[in-house]
Symmetry: C2
Subunit: 333 residues, 2 copies
């Protein structure tokens, strides 16, 4: 090859690379978000805290972002998905619990009478959770969760539950991480129900998943150590429990927090009460057609006080119907 | 500049860079460790789990290493440093607690009679901890810890406590992180006593520090949310509590664990019971001259069952006197 031809090729390749970089640099990191005020607020905040020389610059180590899960990252209707799991487990375990035939709330549940089963209120709910979530080792429970997720389908969409995650929020998680944020889950859901799938689905490793929990006990079985799940509540990671858990697990205040219900209000209050720039966002379920529309009076994921406080404080409120071009990843296919 | 001179300079710079890289590649990552069996075992393990194509290769996301703190990363004699903190706090708080003059264990403590104060055993100890560690917000407590560390001196060395960390272990932490490990603290010490200084001293961020804790409560004060520290134990991160806490906070089993006492035994058992390659190490305090020599019969950091199990299972035991050329960072100066 003649030197000047070689040089021309080098220049061409360099130009092509520069061009690719320029395109990548201007690529929309949140393509499923409409160009509305929510998207603008998110991007303005990220720019403000990550730009070197910004008066609001936040060091990467302090870029902590916490996310609720049910109703914020995946759907929660017609009821929390973990409760579907519990119901399926009651059915699966029934043959080894003949006493359940005459014992509430199990008797009603096994007859298909969900309303009757839940007539016992919180106590009935807790009994169902304990009967299905305790009595095995942590390793065994993890496998039960994985097996269930591999086959269970949502009653409305007939999709696996892990496909009913919000595409715009997946983009938001990736966008924050690309800008040096560490993303955490802070959910009322059971921590060991969430960890087996969140790394794959959200890119969030187990050590960044915080949730409700039951107690576990260290034991030796045949000379091997195991952790046994006990039928005893350890921590409820909801409402005022969320800042408590954030402090206990993360040990520093988030700079950004994302939720969808009154259960997230204290997390958003705690986050925005910190010094310097803070960001709080509520996902508002306004799309009855593509998802569900509910807020103040919903029995699941009620958003009432939180909506008022968001308006009073100028927090970002996502209007799902307006702000999200796509809800679920499978819509894109 | 003539083209051939320019070219020569480019070649020289490139050669210099390559040379620097080669030197860096062969630099000893653990210079304070003697070339004995402990150092060899550590480096062989790291090579084995990080080398691409190794049958024992561990993905970076799963390279979790957990470290005890007292006696493993910093000294713990003549008693746990956090207890010196508590004693100093009793003295500082005494003017606002006139009732302590007639109330044990405080009365003895204030007279300088430590033995008398501790005659009440665990209960007396707990009373001292609660009186000095609760009753303020988390933000206030953090400041109290920082202020104490800035002025307090160890009774023997007259050094700040944060200088009484082990230089070889600092190198080990950095070496593991350079090889893609995520390093965690799993200590019986109070988590909010440790977090204010560990990022600076060990390079371990607050969210990777696990410890004992008291309960906290979310409250609104003058319209601002605070977390108030309550005089109630939440979790004791010692012995069988360590695997429980590891599961709760990290959610996956470590591949390597480091301790110095029977309080770490269950953590080492839990770690090494996992599938695939695992590494467990005990720091054995054998150097009465440069540090302290103690093991089976010590009231602080007793290493008895753990020493037997380490020998039976072939865990690595560091002989401080033989294996460490330097104990504290200040010795190098």
């Amino acid at each position: 090859m003649r030197p000047n031809i070689k040089l021309s090729i080098i220049i061409l390749v360099a130009a092509a690379l520069a061009c690719t970089a320029a395109v990548a640099g201007t690529q929309d990191p949140l393509p499923s978000w409409s160009d509305g005020p929510a998207k603008k607020a998110i991007m303005a905040f990220v720019y403000d805290v990550t730009r070197e020389g910004s008066p609001n610059y936040v060091k990467p180590a302090e870029r902590i972002a916490t996310f609720d899960n049910d109703g914020t990252l995946w759907a929660e209707q017609p009821m929390y998905f973990q409760f579907f799991f519990a119901l399926d487990r009651v059915k699966a375990l029934a043959p080894t619990h003949p006493e359940w035939k005459d014992q509430e709330p199990f008797a009603s549940l096994l007859k298909g009478d969900l309303k009757g089963a839940l007539a016992g209120g919180e106590r009935a709910m807790l009994e169902i959770v304990m009967a299905t979530h305790s009595g095995m080792t942590t390793t065994e429970f993890e496998q039960v969760v994985k097996d269930w997720l591999a086959t269970a389908k949502h009653p409305k969409t007939q999709r696996p539950y892990t496909e009913m995650v919000y595409q715009p929020m997946l983009e938001l998680l990736a966008y924050l991480r690309a800008n040096g944020f560490k993303t955490f889950i802070v959910s009322g859901g059971g921590v060991e129900f969430m960890r087996p799938w969140m790394e794959k689905v959200y890119g969030i490793p187990p050590e960044q998943v915080i949730g409700s929990s039951i107690k576990t006990k260290f034991e030796m079985r045949d000379g091997k150590p195991v952790l046994v799940r006990l039928p005893e509540l350890n921590f409820v990671d909801d409402k005022a429990g969320k800042p408590v858990a954030i402090n206990e697990h993360i040990g520093r205040r988030p700079v950004a927090a994302f939720g969808n219900s009154d259960g997230d209000l204290q997390m958003l209050q705690w986050t925005t009460a910190g010094q310097g720039p803070r960001f709080a966002l509520y996902v508002h379920h306004t799309d009855a057609e593509r998802e569900w529309a509910y807020d103040r009076k919903s029995s699941v994921g009620s958003l009432d006080k939180g909506l008022d406080e968001a308006q009073a404080r100028g927090w970002t409120v996502v209007d799902m119907k307006q702000d999200w071009k796509v809800i679920y990843p499978f819509e894109k296919m």
